[in-house]
Amino acid sequence: MLHKCVALKSDALTEFGVCSKDLSVSILMSLTCVSFQACHSETHIGQYYTLPSAHIRTLFPSGLPWRYQQQVKTFNEACIMVRQPSLEVISYLKKTDYSKPALRYLFYGQKGTGKTISLCHAVHFCYTQGWLVLHIPDAHQWVKNCKELLPSSYNASRFDQPLQATTWLRNFRLTNERFLSKIKTKHRYMWTKREFTEEGSLLGELVDQGISRVKSSSDVVGAVMKELRLQSGQPGSDFHLAVAVDGVNGLWGRSTIKKEDKSVDPEELTLIYNLRKLMRNDWTGGAIIATLSQTGSLYTPKSAYLPQELLGERGFDSMDPFIPVSVPNYSEKEFESCCLYYMDRHWLQHPQSRTEEGKKELVFLSNKNPSMLDRICGFL
């Protein structure tokens, strides 16, 4: 039985979510739910929330994990399970006083427990509330495998990464179309002797400048971050800023980029330097949501997952104080819900996987870890 619900807030995007799919299995509800206001309370833990496909294309051009993107393509829909960590962060975001400095939320947990998906869930919430989303899909990509490294034009001791900066600006433009023509810059920026951006020009022009002039794109990124940081929370501006960084421990770790056989410190990279400034809580009117990640990180042991271990001393001191949110493996109820969802989408095909014995085996093999369960159910 399908019914569409309209969001209750009129000034937010009129987003109609999708269906509550009624599964006639008696054990547990695996209802997919819709509009945020109705569907994100404690009772909805374990149920699936469908993200509208238009939102996926604009919000997450590259923010979702690879396996999840494949799943979205196969099932022809994007469903996220409502879980305790993201519910917690969303409830805090609803209640915060935005005249105070930005709060920092940090998702941490073992490998494969769903930190990135929780981050995407919280980011989607911010997007539906009409916030400006500054999403860095993976901070580790900025400290490794750099093909082009130019000396920065602004500061001689730093290095620019034009490729990463231009891709990020393109994604930023795609996500925040509607803000580009509303926000005006407060400073004047000189790119070269002849090119400059006047005070009071639109943010869209600044972003286009960065995309077309590849050499100065990293500086444009820094300028965009500075502008947004200064303007959010001011009485004149009407937007909230959500900064979402995946793999935030990469900002304070080491990098594998080499310049003439000398290893480059992340501090010497313009992008990282500007992002670190953004992570400080000296601005108001928004929130910073981040995820730790050991999988992409460099020179960290595989067993490390706690904030203290992954952020290191410098990182922890910069991020302190923050709100740590632990993302555990699935509970019994969530595991059942996941299995029911896969069966509903015709993903669990093996006849034995629907029996009790099969379920017990899945619990044993995956240890209720979301990514392991996904991999195992892939070939069953």
């Binding site: 393509k73 022809n76 015709h346 993903w347 095909q349 034995q352 029996t355 892939g378 070939f379």
Partner: protein, 225 residues
């Protein structure tokens, strides 16, 4: 009997080439066989159980497991794909193949209209088994010498031989005749889906073998067994 049952406890025991005394019985791995109460069993099965309590039992190979998802055909296919003993890689390829097949079929299922949905088979295991069935040849050829010349004589094949030929053709086809840069799981899934629909190079090979056997029908009486 007792003299033949030597104790193997001294020294290093080479398990790979060991030949068990025929006195040893085969192991029963599945849990269901043991969960049936004594009342349900027929007389022979009760006798078997009695025998199992008395006689020694061979060690189970590492390829079988008591998992409900264990499939002997799939295990055999993995063993045939394995090179240099790299079972981990062969298993990985097999699981990726099954996942790939399922992904393609489920995508097709979700995009199809209501009427077409029943015709689409999503279970990768049924697709695999059906594709292998479709590839199994009915008759084979044997080289038999008669009067100084060798003739290709059509002969009946045992089940094991048919299954072996189907799997062998599938694997060699995917290894040799496909584009170099595609992954093995991609090649295998394409070929298996084609064989499921009774098309593809492996089916062609089977039909050619059948044609040869039909052409050489006249020599069938050269077979003496």
């Amino acid at each position: 009997m007792k003299a033949a049952l030597k104790l193997y406890s001294e020294g290093v025991f080479l398990v790979r080439w060991s030949r068990y005394n025929p006195y040893y019985l085969e192991p029963e791995v599945s849990k269901e066989a043991y969960s049936r109460p004594a009342t349900e069993l027929s007389a022979e099965e009760k006798e078997q159980r009695e025998l199992k309590t008395l006689r020694p039992i061979k060690a189970a190979t590492s390829g079988v497991s008591s998992s409900v998802f264990d499939d002997p055909v799939i295990s055999k296919f993995i063993n045939m794909m394995m090179e240099h003993g790299n079972k981990v890689l062969a298993r990985e390829i097999m699981t990726q193949t099954l996942e790939n097949i399922k992904k393609k079929q489920v995508e097709k299922y979700h995009k199809a209209s209501e009427g077409e949905r029943e015709a689409i088979e999503c279970n990768p295991y049924t697709i695999f088994h059906q594709a292998l069935e479709n590839c199994k040849p009915v008759v084979g050829l044997a080289s038999i010498q008669k009067g100084g010349k060798y003739y290709q004589v059509p002969i009946p094949l045992t089940d094991n031989r048919r299954r072996f030929l189907a799997m062998k053709w599938m694997i060699t086809e995917c290894r040799d005749n496909k584009h170099r840069r595609t992954h093995m799981y991609e090649k295998l899934s394409q070929e298996l889906l084609a064989a499921f629909g009774k098309e593809g190079n492996v089916m062609k090979k089977k039909y050619e073998l059948h044609k040869m056997a039909e052409a050489n029908r006249a020599y069938a009486h050269y077979r003496w067994w």
